[in-house]
Amino acid sequence: MSPLRAGLIWAALALVIAVPVALATTSPFIAWRPAIYTAAGFAGIAALALLLVQPLLAAGLLPGLPARPGRRVHRALGLLLVVLVLAHVGGLFLTSAPDVIDALLFASPTPFSPWGVVAMWAIFATALLAALRERLRLGPLFWRLGHTALALVIVVGSVVHALLIEGTMEPWSKAAFCLLAVLATLKAVLDLRAWALLRRRAVRERA
């Protein structure tokens, strides 16, 4: 790939992330909000931003970061995603504990809450699976299918969560970003073909 093309792809990615984040910083709501709540909101926005980068890294689609080094960055950003989600939920808890308890118990009156909570648990489950994969000697089939399924739950849950929220993100840039994250996830899932191992095993068993 030519350096120009590589540069353009990275610039496009940076722009796609920067526009919705920059628009969110101009939200008139921020002036009315306590700092910790605003910070919790932006931790959520940053976590959402990672959901576009993660599938691109996993599938080795970013220039200069083919599959193997890409996976290392993917793993580090996965850990960052856990930290951001903890900051998001923790900051919201400090702002309004009863609302967060309701959300965690699936008893919240707001429809966006359960989607976020399910995505949160799927993120934690993925991190746990990744951390214990070697210790538990999880086979590649279990790991890849498990991670793919959890990734789909994470992206769908987070995107619906984000779209249902009336918050600091500007609605159109939020919707466009969510669409890109979903497309990147589908592209990565289809490219990586986690189910190929399943078919290989079936062929082997038949033989």
Binding site: F29, W32, R33, P34, L92, T95, S96, P98, D99, I101, D102, F106, A107, S108, P109, T110, P111, F112, S113, P114, W115, V118, L141, F142, L145, A149, V153, V156, G157, L164, I165, E166, G167, L198, R201, A202, E205
Partner: protein, 164 residues
Amino acid sequence: MTPIPSSRRAILKAGLTGAAFVAATPALILPARAQGLAPTPSMRGGSNNYMPGAPVVSRIGGGGFWMTGTVRRAGDGAPLSGIRIQIWAHTTEGREDDKHSHGATLTAADGSFRLEMPQIIPIFGQPHGHLAYEGAGFKTVFLRPIMASARDKSLSAHFVLEPA
């Protein structure tokens, strides 16, 4: 080598369970009417920033937005008059924890109440109001109704109180 049993069924099952989990949304709280009128359950998130003893006011701040509702007795559904309802929200004029964002009103003879207040703006993901009943005679109830749109100019909430 013994073949490992295919885990496809297990994976499918896990996927379906996950999908059902994702699709589960909190059930709407509707008063059951089988054995008379059931009391309105108090909402945990409703109590946030409650200020006991907020004064009865003719209007909160500059107004422009209406909070309305009714108060009835559990069982026979009789309207309750003179019941004090505290109302507060995150508005264009202040936060939920600002004293001037709070005000109380009393229900009319038909159990209805309405209080003008500043425009509610989104906070915590969706614009919402807070209402509270606390007093002698009935069990405390906190409500946290949500607005379908931030452009709405009114919001309502209904209490069915259980004698204490």
